[in-house]
Each structure stands twice: as C-alpha cells, then as structure tokens.
C-alpha cells in the first residue's frame, strides 16, 4: 500500500455528483435522534397545552374548511362526512407542508451551526422529516379517533382495499417535501427571494392540490386548463389517493400512482444533488 492510500479522507473542492456517505451518516445517527428529540420537545416547552397544539391546528382548520367550503360553498364530498373529508386532506397536506417549509430553510436557519462545525448536512433535513412524521402520527391518531366516532354513529365508512399503499403515499409525501425543500434551501443561500415565495406559495399550492375539495368537483366546475393542472398535479394525486385509501372516495389509477412515485423519486434525487453541491461552500454565500 502506498502512503497515499492510507488517507482517511480528503478535503478539496472536487466532489462526486451524489456524495452520500452512508457510513458517515450512520456514525452520526445519535445526532439525528437528538435533533428529532429537540424538534419535538422544544416546541411545547413553556406552553400549557403542550403537544395538544399538534392536534388543535388540524382540528380547527378542518372545522373552518367545513364551514366555508361545505356549508357555505356547497362542495360535495361524495357522501363522506365533510369534516372527516377535510381532516384527512389536511392531515396529509400538513405533513407535506411541514416537510417542505422545514427543510426549505435548512441552510439559512442553521448557518450558525453549519458555520462552526462539520457533520453530514443531510442530517438536518432528515431530522425535520422524521420529527414531522411523529407529528403526523399524532394527527393520524386524531383522524382515526373521529373516524371511529363517525363509524359508531352509523356512517357507512370503509377503507379501500388498496390501503396497503398508504405507507407508500406517506413516503412519497416525505420525498416530495424533502426534495422540493432541499432544492429551495440550496437556492436561498444565494437568492433570498425564494423564502418569500415559499411562505405564500405553499398556501396557494394547497388550493390547487385538491385539499378542500375532491377532484371530481374540480373537473366539473373549474376552467379546463386549471382542472387539468389540478388533476395531474402530483400533490393532488397524493391527497386524493390518501382519501381514497382511508375513506373510499374519489378515484385511483395505477398510472397516476406510478408517475407520482417517479416524480417523487426524481425530485428527491435532484434535491439531493443540489443540496450536496451547495453544502460544501454555502457558508461563503449565505
């Protein structure tokens, strides 16, 4: 073995396209767990209601949505109780939104840590995705609670037999949020315009992703160009699919599932490449 072979690692400006060092990430797994713990624990420190806040937000949003879109706006939910319909959409949307907004500010909010010490940067967005998964779990619990309540009241509710795809949908949401978030976070290190865009863009995106209404309603009432966008938007596919699994409402197609899956993977990989490229020297431009 020549002396050059013994180097543990090299610091230089050159790097591979995807430079994911799994061994290193594994070495820092305790840090990942601690970051997740920090995200969960610190949110409700010095609050009275504590983790209850995770539940209050989707419940109130669902109530408001039901009042506005279903009572006032007369949007049909295909026989499903409107409140449950909205709660399902919001629970799923929240997970995507939290992943996106959380990771999209990775570099700017952590620049003081990133500027002082090295650890695999990808730990940060990973921890955000995982801690949001826990919040998502809590909100799913609430959904199941209301689901049982409505079922007990005599509503005809049923899971779809594609329910086994539910975990895949959750993974797709995480990948989409993470991928988009990593792209945005990388670009905000130089151009801050995107932070402004994200904060209201996500809000608008929700309305064209069929969260407060079923796709069938969009097809019937929207102008055709908008309806096409809503229908083929991968986020719509996820939200609609999510409701299809749990409430047996709306439509499902394997082709829709397929392309959403591909888009999620591609966006995630693109995000990872850009993130990798940025993490090396973002501290000079942030």
């Amino acid at each position: 073995m020549t002396p050059q072979d013994q180097w543990l690692y090299t610091i230089s400006s050159k790097h591979k396209l995807i430079d994911l060092n799994f061994k290193e990430i594994w070495r820092y797994r305790d840090l990942l767990i601690l970051f997740v713990k920090r995200d969960i624990v610190t949110v409700y420190k010095q609050t009275i209601l504590g983790p209850l806040w995770y539940i209050i937000q989707p419940l109130f949003t669902s109530v408001i949505f039901t009042l506005i879109f279903n009572n006032l706006g007369q949007i049909s939910t295909d026989g499903v109780p409107p409140f449950l319909f909205n709660l399902a959409g919001i629970t799923a949307w929240n997970y995507f939104r939290e992943c996106l907004t959380g990771t999209s500010s990775t570099f700017t909010t952590n620049q003081s840590i990133f500027g002082k010490v090295y650890f695999p940067r990808v730990i940060m967005p990973m921890s955000i995705t995982i801690s949001n998964l826990l919040k998502f779990g809590i909100q799913m619990g609430i959904f199941i609670g209301f689901y049982s309540y409505y079922a007990f009241q005599g509503q005809t509710l049923g899971f779809n037999n594609h329910i086994f795809l539910l975990p895949v949908y959750i993974v797709m949401m995480a990948l989409l949020g993470l991928g988009l978030g990593m792209i945005i976070s990388s670009m905000t290190t130089k151009y801050r315009d995107l932070t402004v865009l994200v904060s209201f863009g996500v809000q608008l995106l929700m309305y064209v992703s069929a969260v407060p209404y079923p796709v069938s309603e969009a097809k019937a009432k929207f102008p055709s160009a908008v309806a096409v966008f809503v229908e083929y938007n991968p986020l719509t596919q996820i939200i609609e699919g999510f409701r299809y699994m749990l409430l047996n409402t709306g439509t499902f197609s394997w082709s829709g599932f397929g392309y959403t899956f591909v888009i999620s993977i591609v966006l995630f990989l693109v995000g990872l490449i850009i993130f990798n490229k940025t993490e090396k020297s973002f501290i000079d431009t942030v």
């Binding site: 180097w7 543990l8 820092y28 840090l31 624990v41 610190t42 010095q46 010490v117």
Partner: protein, 430 residues
C-alpha cells in the same frame, strides 16, 4: 513520527461586496465555462488579501498556496494578524467550507472547536444540551454517557444541570460548553481562541485542560490564537500567516518572535495612516497623516516621544485634543492619556507628543491614537479621526541599571510603579 495531516496548495477565493446583483451573471458565466470544459473565468482574477489596499478586482484570495504538514501528536500554532486568513484556514480544516483549489489530506478524524456551545438550545436543560452539543461535535451517545459525570464535574454546574440553559448565566453556559468540548477525543483537534472565555479561575482550568490534552494525551492539535502566551505554552511549532500566505514556519518561540517583530512593524520609525488604521470615522474635517516615533525603542525610565502629522481641511470652532491608549499585543488596554485642548485652523500641522514617566514595563505595546472634540471632564469626547494600532514600540530593559527592574518578569504585569517607603521603629504597648 508520521504525518497525520497534509495541506497541499490550499487557496481560497472570496467575492467582495454584497452577494446580489451580478451574482446570477457570474454564476451563469461559470456554468457556461464549465459546460465547455474550461477553467472558471473568475479564478484568474483576484488580488492578494490585504484589507488596507483598495482592491482592483471584485475577488480576493483569502488564502493562497498554503502548504504544511502536521506530525502525529504535534501541537501546531497558527498565528497572524486579523484578516491574515487564520479563520478561513480553520474553516477549511473543519470542513465548514471547501478550498477553491488544493486539498487537505488527513489520516484522522478532525473535530473543530471554532466556538464553544455550538447548537446549544436555550429551552433544553444542561444535561440535554451536553448530549446535543456532544453529538454535534461528533461524539456518540454512548461516549457522552460514559463521560457525563466527568463533564458535569468539570463544568462546575452540578446544581443547575436539569435547569434549562436559558436560566444560566453566560459564564455558566460557557463553562458547560467548554466542558463538553474538552472531553472530545478526536484524532485531530482544531481550536480557535476558545480560551478567551469565562472568569480567571476557569481560564486557568481551561488552559490546564488544554495542556493535558496536548501534552499528556499526545493528541494532535491545531491551535489558533492571538494570545502569544497561550500559544507559547501550548504549541511546539507554529506557522505565521500574513495576507493569506505562510510567511514563517518553525519553532514556536521563533515564530512568535517573528510575528511580533515583523507583522507588527516594530522598529518602524514612521507610519503613514491608511484605511486599515481607521475604524468608524465620521468627521471629514481633518485627518491624521503619519506618526513618527522619535525613540521607537526606549526603557522603563525613558520618555515616549512622537510627532504626529495631520491636516485640517477647514477651521474647527470647537477645541480638540489628542487622546490615545496604550495596549498590549493582545489588545488589552494598559492605560490612556488626554492632552490639553488645541484650536485648529485650516492647514497642515505637526503636534509633538511626549509621555514622560510612562511606567511601562518591558515588552511591546501599541499606541492607539485619536483626535477628539469635546471635553474629558464632561466625558463627551467624540472621535474625529482615529488610528487603531497607529504605531508599535518596545520598552527595553535597562542595561546600565543593576536593580531588579532590568530583569522584568512577565507575570509582574505591564506597569512599573514608583514606590517610596518610610521605616519607623515603634513600640507596641497596647
């Protein structure tokens, strides 16, 4: 001895000015050059890193062609003036940023302490923060658990360990943070002036711990500091950086001597003031031009004499005076002076300044000089022009004087007090 770390032709380029307008066009140019397989067009431009000279290009080389090797178990000091490139080098070593060209090869894991308490969360308890901070610095949970008692004992915060860190005093936070850092066990430790924290007792403890780490445990350490005493006591070898290049490499004592004499321009009889001397000056009615030391080397009992040249561009109604402070090399102020008032008319002037009975002990000092308006009595002095580290001068030992002052010991401080005693014999009859 084997080489554990090797830096080869490290250079780092920074863009001056704000990142914003023009960034996209430069990015696109770079990208286009990359597509055609050409070299980055902006790597050719860029000037030497000297903040006092106005740059002719928007790019600057913070580091240029840095080469050095570190042996296993060695404690290497990195010294240099502000802006010499020390921090940039540390950032590259700790993988916070990448070099523009060149590479660093290492045979061990590097842990860096560019700051104590990185990632401390104010809402979490001391104990939780020990885990989080330790993990950020590269420790595993198991390692931290096994050292937890030791860390808490070293910090001296046992009583508050389960209290949120936001309730801590700043000193306690720093103690706890340093305690975590001190118990790191990487192959190579990179430290940036973290010693300058805490109270005197804790500093002593910290330096002692650093010595244990470097000498006792045989760890490889790269240490950056302005504190020459700490560098001398901890390091075996040192490199001196100036304007982004290594200007000296060798034994620590030689390096410190080189730094003090060369980098600080001691023995310069005449210094012209430029941008690097001026910090936050608002008044444009006058400016100091140069300072001449009439005796740049003097003794404890000598007088300090300077001629200061300055130009007044328009008559100034208010009385102004010359104020200044004398500082040690690490920027601690030793003392200040305020001259009597002057009325300045338009034109060029010379003012002769004399500080008799300065009482300074052996060593090298800086003079920071200002022309100020207002009065000392009402403590509303306002600087009109200011020269930071205007000139350095050295106080020498007296050769013809056989008394104790001629062998001044550094631990006696920076001032020599005149003293008188009066001995009377009395009888105790209480």
């Amino acid at each position: 001895m084997s080489i554990i770390l090797k830096a080869e032709n490290i250079s780092k380029q920074y863009r001056l000015g704000s990142v914003g307008t023009g960034t996209i066009s430069h990015d696109l140019n770079r990208w286009w050059a990359g597509i055609r397989g050409k070299e980055d067009p902006y790597l050719k431009v860029g000037s030497v890193n000297d903040r006092s000279i106005k740059a002719d290009s928007n790019y600057v080389w913070a580091l240029q062609d840095i080469n050095f090797e570190v042996q296993r178990g060695e404690v290497l000091g990195i010294i240099g003036k502000n802006g010499a490139g020390k921090s940039t080098l540390l950032k590259i070593l700790s993988r916070v940023t990448t070099p523009t060209t060149g590479e660093i090869k290492t045979k061990g894991r590097i842990a860096s302490l560019l700051e104590v308490g990185t990632g401390f969360h104010p809402e979490m308890t001391g104990r939780e923060n020990v885990y989080l901070n330790g993990a950020i610095l590269g420790m595993t949970k198991k390692e931290i658990t096994s050292k937890l008692d030791e860390i808490i004992a070293f910090s001296g915060c046992e009583r508050y360990i389960d209290t949120p860190v936001k309730r801590y005093s700043s000193g306690m936070t720093v103690r706890l943070a340093f305690a975590v850092a001190a118990h790191l066990e990487p192959d190579i430790l990179v430290i940036d002036e973290v010693l300058a924290v805490g109270d005197a007792e804790f500093q002593k403890k910290a330096i002692g711990k650093m010595q244990d780490i470097s000498k006792g445990e045989g760890r490889t350490v790269l240490f950056v500091s302005h504190n020459m005493a700490a560098v001398k006591s901890l390091c075996t070898r040192a490199i001196v950086l100036e304007h982004g290049a290594i200007v000296f490499e060798g034994k620590v004592d030689d390096a410190v001597d080189f730094y003090i004499s060369e980098a600080n321009a001691i023995g310069h009889k005449e210094v012209y003031f430029n941008k690097s001397h001026r910090r936050g000056i608002t008044d444009h009615r006058l400016s100091m031009i140069k300072i001449i030391a009439k005796n740049e080397k003097t003794t404890i009992r000598g007088a300090l004499k300077f001629d200061i040249y300055f130009e007044v561009y328009q008559n100034i109604q208010k009385a102004v005076c010359l104020t200044g402070s004398i500082c040690a090399l690490d920027d601690t102020a030793i003392g200040s002076f305020f001259t009597q008032n002057m009325i300045l008319k338009e034109g060029k002037h010379i003012v002769e300044l004399e500080l008799p009975n300065h009482n300074l002990s052996v060593g090298v000092y800086y003079l920071n000089l200002s022309i100020s308006k207002g009065s000392v009595e009402n403590s509303n002095l306002e600087r009109m022009d200011h020269a930071y580290q205007a000139i350095a001068f050295e106080i020498l030992q007296m050769e013809d004087d056989g008394d104790y002052i001629s062998n001044w010991n550094g631990s006696w401080g920076n001032l020599f007090f005149q003293s008188h005693i009066n001995l009377t014999t009395i009888e105790y009859n209480v």
